[in-house]
């Protein structure tokens, strides 16, 4: 019998906190089993071994923020059969996209004494702005069970089951009492993409949007409800402007309230 071919997996990092790729190492019960089904061909955080491409599956973490990285993602796309982005940085630009609302030169000089040593782009942009992406997995951080689902779906050549409905549905499923309706706590759940399992409301706090916008979110109506609960324009601007600030529906909503604030 011929030896079974294990698909080659590569993990790539751009501007990010490392948390999403750590999710793979956090699959303590499944890691050795996954490693039996795929060949870990490039994953610097976990191994010094490097197997040459092309790769069957590339997982990309992080956003594009430097001229060098803008070139590197093109090379990675060329050697990847399937390219999947993992996390808010790779799919929406991440929290470092807060620079996109300002002049990056001001930012450089706040942090570094010799700004001339720093080579950075004006904007932090998602991977899909640069190359074709086959699938985007949401979250800041991603949910590790969803990551396993995406890898399993890839191995079985099927579409991953990661619903695009709101976090509200997840609260209903786990039987969490609505913190907004019953508790008067402002919550982004109604406009936020599902995936985390609605953790915050089960810890008595409102959702703060780690998974970014759901499919067709009604952000205007959301803001109206927040105002009824006493939120200021500044607060609404800030809550839409965190880890998924550059995702279009959140960006537009934050800009409306940023204008109002003035």
């Amino acid at each position: 019998m011929p030896e079974l071919y294990n698909p080659k997996l590569a993990v790539w990092k751009f501007a990010s906190c490392d948390g999403c790729q750590l999710s793979l190492l956090d699959c303590e019960d499944e890691l050795l089993a996954v490693a039996g089904e795929i060949e870990i061909a490039h994953f610097p955080e976990a191994t010094r071994k490097v197997v040459e491409g092309p790769y069957d599956l590339s997982l990309v973490e992080g956003s594009i923020t430097t001229p060098v990285d803008a070139k590197r993602i093109q090379e990675i796309r060329r050697v990847s059969k399937t390219l999947i982005t993992i996390g808010a940085c790779a799919t929406a630009g991440g929290i470092q996209a807060l620079r996109n609302f300002r002049d990056v030169k001001d930012f450089v000089s706040i942090v570094y004494a010799n700004p001339a040593y720093i080579d950075t782009l004006n904007q932090s942009t998602p991977i899909a702005d640069h190359v074709t992406v086959d699938f985007e997995l949401r979250g800041c951080p991603i949910n590790k069970m969803q990551l396993l689902e995406v890898i399993s779906a890839f191995l079985a050549d099927r579409k991953p089951n990661t619903p695009a409905h709101s976090t509200c549905i997840e609260c209903k499923r786990r039987g969490t009492v609505c913190v907004m309706v019953a508790g008067g706590t402002p919550c982004l759940g109604p406009v936020t993409h599902a995936g985390c399992g609605a953790i915050c409301p089960s810890y008595q706090r409102g959702c703060y949007g780690c998974f970014g916008p759901m499919e067709t979110p009604n952000t205007a109506s959301m803001s109206k409800e927040w105002k009824k609960l006493g939120a200021s324009s500044g607060e609404i601007e800030r809550v839409f402007r965190t880890f998924n600030a550059w995702a279009e529906p959140f960006r537009n909503e934050s800009e409306i309230h940023g204008e109002e604030k003035k």
């Binding site: 990092k13 751009f14 501007a15 990010s16 906190c17 490392d18 948390g19 999403c20 750590l22 999710s23 190492l25 956090d26 303590e28 019960d29 890691l31 050795l32 490693a35 870990i40 610097p44 955080e45 976990a46 191994t47 010094r48 071994k49 490097v50 923020t65 060098v68 990285d69 991440g94 929290i95 470092q96 807060l98 620079r99 300002r102 990056v104 001001d106 930012f107 450089v108 706040i110 942090v111 570094y112 004494a113 010799n114 040593y117 720093i118 950075t120 800041c140 951080p141 985390c196 953790i199 915050c200 089960s202 810890y203 008595q204 706090r205 703060y208 780690c210 800030r238 965190t242 880890f243």
Partner: protein
């Protein structure tokens, strides 16, 4: 990779693996002397200190957690303590214990990841833990299970293991009934035994003979092994309040790194992390951790950074023991957090991240808006010490073939468990023999 011309050479590793973040190392050797060592950090800058300006003081634990996916709790703890300092609030009793408990979870998760997945493969000659598992399945499986207990604790107390959601300025969003902590308490009884076994196992590894006179810097608390509070002390006699940090330490911006190098103004490079904590706080370890350390052959002061793998295991044992103590004595607090009203002020926070001291300073206005933020992570403090280690380490091993020398250099860097995502936040090694 190495190029050899006459008696000089460049050894170069483009991507140093098994560290968190992106960087490179460049070493230039002439004859038997090392001309230049550069730990290059090319992880792109993310400008946290800049975009924290104008944000609300309540947002710091959620925002700063995103600096690092491996040690988010450290960022949350330093930031909330700094804000509470600015606002004149003290969080104590069971809420303080719960914070310490959450931090135990992070030390375990982060240290065990490094011991078994990132560092141990170097000692045994494997490229990674997956390959090591083919010959040492039991060791790797036990390590993964121990790591999982740390993560389970973070998931319970923090809501999730990466970027926990339950921490707020003033305390937590939700606290727990004693009954809810029963299952995790049972898991920790197993974990403490497994951690003791990890100390014994790491002590059987073989270590290069290598010691230097370091200045160790860590927090020191009068009655506890340090997590969230204490004075900043050093093996050279430094003993200051954390508010005096900027008077004694400064950050230098050098061309080859996107991370700022931190130095002691008076004396230059210093050493933070598990070995510094251990050496400066040995007497504060719990009896089981102290005995295990002594049986592993560690005396009061360890100056061989390769042995940091044993010390990490000792700290995992301590964290398991301490978590059990807190879990067993836990009584549910009356309220999950202390109410806080904003006011103008400046606050300081310094806590012991798994990799060493993490310093935060914030100034806020009377509405709670952040005017200025400063964050000094552990890896940027160790950068210079790592470079100095290599300057002394490389000449002793120049007879080795380049591939082996390169691997040894990587191992010497991994002694520090560098987190480059934090420091700018990966490494690329280049040894240049000319």
């Amino acid at each position: 990779m190495a190029k050899k011309k006459s008696d000089s050479k460049i050894i170069k590793v483009d991507t140093l693996a098994r560290v968190e973040g992106e960087g490179a190392l460049y070493i230039k050797v002439q004859g038997n002397s090392v001309q230049d060592v550069r730990l290059k950090i090319f992880e792109p800058p993310r400008f946290f200190e800049a975009f924290l300006r104008g944000r609300d003081f309540k947002e710091v634990p959620d925002i700063t957690a995103r600096i690092c996916g491996i040690c988010p709790v450290a960022y949350q703890m330093s930031s909330v303590h700094a804000m509470e300092d600015a606002l004149g609030v003290k969080v104590d009793g069971p809420l303080r214990d719960l914070r310490r408990l959450l931090y135990c979870g992070e030390w375990i998760e982060s240290h065990v990841l490094h011991i078994f997945m990132l560092h141990a493969p170097d000692f045994l000659g494997y490229e990674d833990a997956i390959q090591m598992a083919k010959d040492h399945r039991e060791v790797v499986e036990r390590g993964l299970k121990l790591k999982k207990v740390g993560n389970d604790l973070m998931t319970l107390i923090g809501g999730r293991e990466i970027h926990p959601i339950n921490v707020r300025v003033g305390g937590f969003y939700k606290v727990f009934k004693k009954q809810q902590l029963k299952d995790i308490t049972e898991q920790f009884k197993w974990a403490r035994d497994a951690a003791l076994e990890a100390v014994r196992w790491t002590a059987t590894l073989s270590f290069p003979e290598f010691e230097r006179d370091y200045e160790f810097v860590a927090l020191r608390h009068p009655s506890e092994y340090p997590f969230n509070e204490g004075r900043l002390v050093s093996s050279a006699g430094l003993d200051i309040d954390i508010r005096e940090f900027d008077q004694h330490f400064e950050e230098e911006h050098v061309e080859h790194s996107n991370a700022l190098h931190s130095v002691l103004k008076e004396r230059g490079a210093y050493f933070v992390g598990p070995m510094a904590r251990f050496n400066l706080n040995f007497d504060q370890l719990s009896p089981i951790a102290r005995e295990a350390a002594e049986q592993a052959g560690l005396s009061r002061e360890c100056r061989n950074p390769f042995k940091s793998i044993i010390i990490r295991s000792v700290e995992v044992l301590y964290a398991c023991d301490e978590a059990l103590r807190i879990l067993e004595n836990y009584e549910m607090p009356d309220r999950p957090f202390v109410e806080i009203e904003p006011k103008t002020g400046t606050g300081y926070g310094c806590t012991e991240a798994p990799r060493g001291i993490l310093y935060h300073r914030y100034s806020i206005d009377d509405s709670g808006k952040i005017l200025d933020a400063q964050i000094v992570p552990p890896t940027s403090q160790n950068q210079k010490t790592i470079e100095n280690d290599l300057k002394e380490f490389v000449p002793k091993y120049l007879d080795l073939p380049d591939a082996e020398l390169t691997w040894q250099c990587e191992q010497a860097i991994r002694n520090y468990d560098p987190c480059i995502s934090c420091a700018t936040h990966f490494l690329k090694l280049e040894v240049d023999r000319e």
